[in-house]
C-alpha cells in the first residue's frame, strides 16, 4: 500500500489500520462497525469513526475530517473558562478581499491561503508572535480576477503526507512542500479566459488530489477531477453535463435510487440543443469521503444561465449530489435537489457523513443544508431521500415530494422574461451558502451558519459571450425579516428541528467549529467572533476583529500543549463584496443583488485581512 495514501501525522498509522481492515470487505457487504464505535450522543446522531477518527490536536483539512464534522476533541477551552479567551497573536494576510480560507494546523506550523494573489502562508508556532516561516507566492494571472463571480477568494489548502495542495484563481493546482515552501508541481486544470476559475479546497483521498472548477456564472461546464498526488497528472475527470461517458456514468455501476435519473445521456437530452456545453454544474464546494463505502460525495452547482428560459429541461446533472468512486470517478448514485434550477441554488454545500437512528434502525446518511432552504437527509449507500425539512421561510417552492424525491416549484414564483417576481425566499445565495456547518460529537447537533434573505428577480435576455458573465437576471436582495439577514442555528438531525438560534443582522458568511469543550465558534460580517454554548446557544464570549469574518474557524493544540482557536478576519466574497470591492449601494443590483441591502454594512464593517489566534492566558 502506498504510504502517500493516508493523511500524514500522528493518526496515520491508526487510520491506515482501520482502512486496511475495511478494504478487505467488499463494497456490497453492510458497512462493518468501526473498531471503536463513536461515543453516543443525546440525539443519537454519530459520525462514523472511519470518516471521523479521534482527534489528534491537528487540523489538516479544512473540513477537519472526511466526514466534514469540523469537530475538535479538544476541551481545554470550555464553557467554564472561555470568557477569559484573549488574542495570542495576529498575522496580516497582506490582502484586502474576502478571507475565506481555513487555517490548518500541522505539527508546529499554521497554513492559510489569501485571496488573489493566493499566497500560501506558513506560520511558525515555535516562535513567538506568529512569525512567518515562509510565504509561497504562486503569482496567478491578474486577469483571472475578472473571471471570479464573487471576488477572487480561496477556501483553503489541504495537507497530506508532507505536501500542501491548493488551487489558485487562474485554474491551477499547486503542490507545495509543507516544510520548505518549495513548489513540487503545479498543473493547469482549466482555462480562466472562458471564466473557469478554481477556489475550492481540494481533498486528498488515497493517492488522488480531488479538485473541481467554478464559473457557472460564466457558462462554464462543471467538472470534478482527480490528480495523482505524486505529479499532478490527471487520473480522471467527470463532467456535470453532457454524455454519460463524460459524466463517468457507467450503467454497470450507476444505480440511482429514483427512476428519473435512469436512461442514457440525460446530461444531453435534458437540455435544449448544445446548451449543456455552457450549462454550469461546477464543483466548487465541499467533498466528503466515506472510507467504508469507499465513496466520495460532492454537489454540483447551478445551471447556466440563471435565466431559466434559456435552458428548458431538468438540466442534468446540475444542482444535485453525486456519490463517486474516488479511484475511477465513476458515479454510483445521483440525487437532484432542484431539477431545472430557477434561482442559482447551487448545491455544493457540505455533505456531512453521519449515522442516524431512523425509524427503529440505523441509517448511513449524508446531511446537507441546501441553498434551496431545506436540510436534506439522504441515505449515502443508495441515494434515497429520507427527509427534507425547511430551515427558513421558503416561498420559492412548496416542499419536496418524498415519493419521487422531486422539489415542487411554486408556480406563482416561476420567472418569465419582462416580469419582476417578488418575495422569492430564499434568495439566490440561498438559505445557506458555501460556509460550512459543524457537527458536535458531544451534543449530536448540527451548527449551521446561514442566511435569512429573500429577493425580487427579473429575468432578461442573455447571450453567451465567452469570458463574461452569463446570467440574464437582475436580482435585488433583502432580509426575510426586518433587521434579520442571517442566523446561526443548532439543528437536531434526528428530531429534524431547530434547537436554538441566534439572530444576526447580516447573512452569516463564516464557517463553524464545534469542540469537546461544549462550545461552537463562528463570526459575523461586522467582525464579531463568538463562542457559544453548544447546548443553549448562549453567547459566552465575543471579540470584535478589525474586519468582517467570512473565514472558517479552526482549533488545535500548539506545540506548547495549549489549545488555540484561529480565524481569518477580512470581509468579502459575495456577501461582503459591497464593502471590500467598494461597490456603490445606490445600484440595487450591484454585487448581483446585495447592493440593495448593503448601504449600512459599508458603515458597520471595514475592509481588512488578518489572522487572529486566540488562547486562554498562560496558567
Amino acid at each position: 500500500m502506498d504510504r502517500r495514501v493516508w493523511p500524514a501525522g500522528r493518526t496515520a498509522s491508526a487510520f491506515a489500520l482501520v482502512v486496511l481492515a475495511l478494504a478487505a470487505c467488499s463494497r456490497n457487504a453492510p458497512p462493518p462497525g468501526p473498531a471503536k464505535p463513536p461515543a453516543a450522543t443525546p440525539t443519537g446522531a454519530v459520525a462514523p469513526a472511519a470518516a471521523s477518527p479521534d482527534d489528534d490536536g491537528q487540523w489538516t483539512m479544512p473540513a477537519k475530517d472526511y466526514a466534514n464534522t469540523r469537530y475538535s476533541g479538544l476541551d481545554q477551552i470550555n464553557t467554564g473558562n472561555v470568557k477569559g479567551l484573549q488574542v495570542a497573536f495576529t498575522v496580516s494576510t497582506e490582502t484586502l478581499k474576502g478571507q475565506e480560507s481555513a487555517v490548518l494546523a500541522v505539527g508546529d506550523t499554521l497554513y492559510f491561503v489569501t485571496p488573489y494573489p493566493n499566497n500560501l502562508y506558513a506560520i511558525d508556532l515555535e516562535k513567538p508572535g506568529g512569525a512567518v516561516k515562509w510565504k509561497y507566492q504562486p503569482k496567478p494571472d491578474a486577469a483571472a480576477q475578472g473571471e471570479a463571480c464573487c471576488q477572487p477568494i480561496n477556501r483553503g489548502p489541504v495537507y497530506s503526507n508532507g505536501v500542501i495542495y491548493y488551487n489558485t484563481i487562474d485554474a491551477w493546482t499547486h503542490a507545495v512542500d509543507a516544510k520548505t515552501g518549495q513548489l513540487k508541481w503545479k498543473v493547469k486544470v482549466g482555462d480562466f479566459h472562458k471564466g473557469e476559475t478554481t477556489n475550492m479546497a481540494p481533498i486528498v483521498v488515497k493517492d488522488h488530489v480531488i479538485v473541481g472548477n467554478s464559473g457557472a456564472e460564466f457558462g462554464v461546464r462543471g467538472w470534478i477531477a482527480a490528480l495523482n498526488a505524486g505529479d499532478g497528472s490527471l487520473a480522471w475527470r467527470a463532467y456535470s453535463t453532457g454524455p454519460d461517458k463524460d459524466v463517468l456514468i457507467d450503467p454497470a455501476v450507476f444505480k440511482p435510487f429514483y427512476p428519473q435519473y435512469k436512461g442514457t445521456d440525460l446530461g444531453v437530452s435534458h437540455w435544449r440543443g448544445e446548451q449543456w456545453k455552457i450549462g454550469g454544474g461546477t464543483v466548487w464546494g465541499w467533498i466528503s469521503y466515506d472510507p467504508e463505502l469507499d465513496l466520495i460525495f460532492h454537489g454540483t452547482s447551478n445551471p447556466a444561465p440563471w435565466n431559466h428560459e434559456a435552458r428548458p429541461g431538468d438540466n442534468n446533472w446540475t444542482e444535485g449530489i453525486f456519490a463517486r468512486d474516488p479511484e475511477t470517478g465513476k458515479a454510483h448514485w445521483f440525487y437532484q435537489y432542484s431539477p431545472h434550477g430557477l434561482w442559482d441554488h447551487s448545491s455544493v454545500n457540505e455533505n456531512i457523513i453521519l449515522d442516524l437512528p431512523w425509524q427503529g434502525r440505523t441509517r448511513h446518511v449524508v446531511v446537507h443544508p441546501e441553498r434551496n432552504g431545506y436540510i436534506y437527509v439522504i441515505d449515502r449507500t443508495s441515494g434515497e431521500l429520507l427527509a427534507a425539512d425547511p430551515f427558513m421561510k421558503v416561498t420559492a417552492s412548496l416542499g419536496v415530494d418524498m415519493k419521487t424525491g422531486k422539489l415542487i416549484d411554486n408556480p406563482e414564483k416561476r420567472p418569465t422574461e419582462g416580469k419582476v417576481v417578488r418575495e422569492v425566499c430564499p434568495n439566490s445565495p440561498g438559505a445557506k451558502d458555501w460556509n460550512p456547518s459543524a457537527f458536535s460529537k458531544q451534543t449530536g447537533l448540527l451548527y449551521v451558519p446561514h442566511n435569512n434573505l429573500c429577493m425580487d428577480w427579473e429575468t432578461k435576455p442573455v447571450s453567451y459571450l465567452a469570458g463574461t458573465p452569463y446570467i440574464g437576471v437582475n436580482p435585488r436582495f433583502y432580509p426575510a425579516d426586518p433587521g434579520k439577514g442571517g442566523e446561526f442555528m443548532a439543528w437536531d438531525p434526528v428530531a429534524r428541528k431547530k434547537v436554538w438560534t441566534i439572530d444576526e443582522k447580516w447573512p452569516v458568511w463564516s464557517g463553524a467549529v464545534a469542540t469537546a469543550g461544549g462550545l461552537v465558534f463562528y463570526g459575523n460580517l461586522e467582525g464579531w467572533f463568538k463562542a457559544v454554548d453548544a447546548r443553549t446557544g448562549q453567547v459566552l464570549w465575543q471579540f470584535k476583529t478589525a474586519s468582517g469574518i467570512v473565514g472558517q474557524p479552526t482549533t488545535w493544540r500548539g506545540p506548547d500543549g495549549r489549545q488555540y482557536v484561529s480565524v481569518l478576519s477580512g470581509i468579502g466574497g459575495w456577501a461582503g463584496a459591497m464593502v471590500s470591492s467598494q461597490l456603490d449601494p445606490r445600484d440595487a443590483t450591484a454585487a448581483k443583488g446585495f447592493g440593495n441591502m448593503s448601504a449600512d454594512l459599508k458603515k458597520e464593517s471595514a475592509i481588512g485581512g488578518m489572522l487572529y489566534v486566540f488562547a486562554l492566558p498562560k496558567a
Binding site: 486577469a143 425580487d456 445600484d587
Partner: protein, 190 residues
C-alpha cells in the same frame, strides 16, 4: 465614499510609473551636454511632467468626444450597448460587481470620456477584458458617454431617466440593436 484601497492602488501605480519613467530617463541621459536646469526655479518650468499625486497619463483629448458626450441620443444608445455587450455582467447598473463601480467619482484609470474609451478598448490588467475589434468604435464612444452620464457628469437634459433594472417596464434590451451581435457560442469551454 472614502476609498483607501483604490487611493493606495493609484498611488502605487503612480509610484510605479514614476520608477519606470525614471529608469527610461537614465537610459537616455546625455553625460556630455549641459546640465539640465535643476528645478522649477531655474527655468520656471518643471524639468519633466512628473509630479506626485498624478494618475496614469490618459489619452490626449479626442475631438470625437464632443460628438458623443452630452448627446442624449448617443447616451441612450450607449445604455443599450452597455447591456448588450454584457458590461452589466461585471459592473451591474453602474454600482459594480466583479468590476469597479462606474457611477461613482472614483476612477482607477480615469473618468474622462477618452479614458473610459481607452479602458474599454485596451482592457485593464486586473480583469477588464479588451473589447478591441469586438465593439465598433462609434458604439464604444456611445458606451463611454453613457458611463459618463451615470455619475451625473452630463447635462440633466441629456441623461437617460432612471435605469430599467427591476421595473416592470420594457427591458432596454428588448429593443435589439441593429449592429453585429456577439457571436453565438461555437467555441465551447472544453
Amino acid at each position: 465614499m472614502s476609498s483607501p484601497c483604490r487611493r493606495l492602488e493609484r498611488l502605487a501605480a503612480a509610484a510605479l510609473a514614476a520608477a519606470l519613467l525614471a529608469g527610461c530617463q537614465r537610459e537616455t541621459r546625455d553625460f556630455h551636454g549641459p546640465p539640465p536646469p535643476s528645478g522649477p526655479q531655474a527655468s520656471g518650468v518643471s524639468p519633466s511632467d512628473l509630479a506626485a499625486g498624478g494618475g496614469p497619463i490618459g489619452p490626449p483629448h479626442d475631438p470625437r468626444a464632443a460628438i458623443y458626450e452630452d448627446n442624449a441620443f448617443h447616451i441612450g444608445e450607449g445604455k443599450r450597448y452597455y447591456d448588450w455587450y454584457n458590461c452589466y455582467g461585471c459592473h451591474a447598473a453602474g454600482g459594480g460587481d466583479i468590476g469597479p463601480p462606474l457611477m461613482d467619482d472614483q476612477w482607477i484609470y480615469g473618468g474622462s470620456i477618452e479614458q473610459i474609451h481607452a479602458s474599454i478598448v485596451e482592457g485593464r490588467p486586473n480583469g477588464m477584458p479588451s473589447f478591441r475589434n469586438k465593439i465598433p468604435d462609434d458604439q464604444v464612444w456611445e458606451i463611454a458617454a453613457y458611463i459618463r452620464s451615470m455619475g451625473g457628469n452630463v447635462a440633466k437634459d441629456a441623461a437617460p431617466s432612471r435605469g430599467d433594472e427591476l421595473q416592470s417596464s420594457l427591458a432596454k434590451t428588448q429593443v435589439k440593436p441593429t449592429p453585429a451581435k456577439p457571436a453565438a457560442p461555437t467555441d465551447q469551454p472544453r
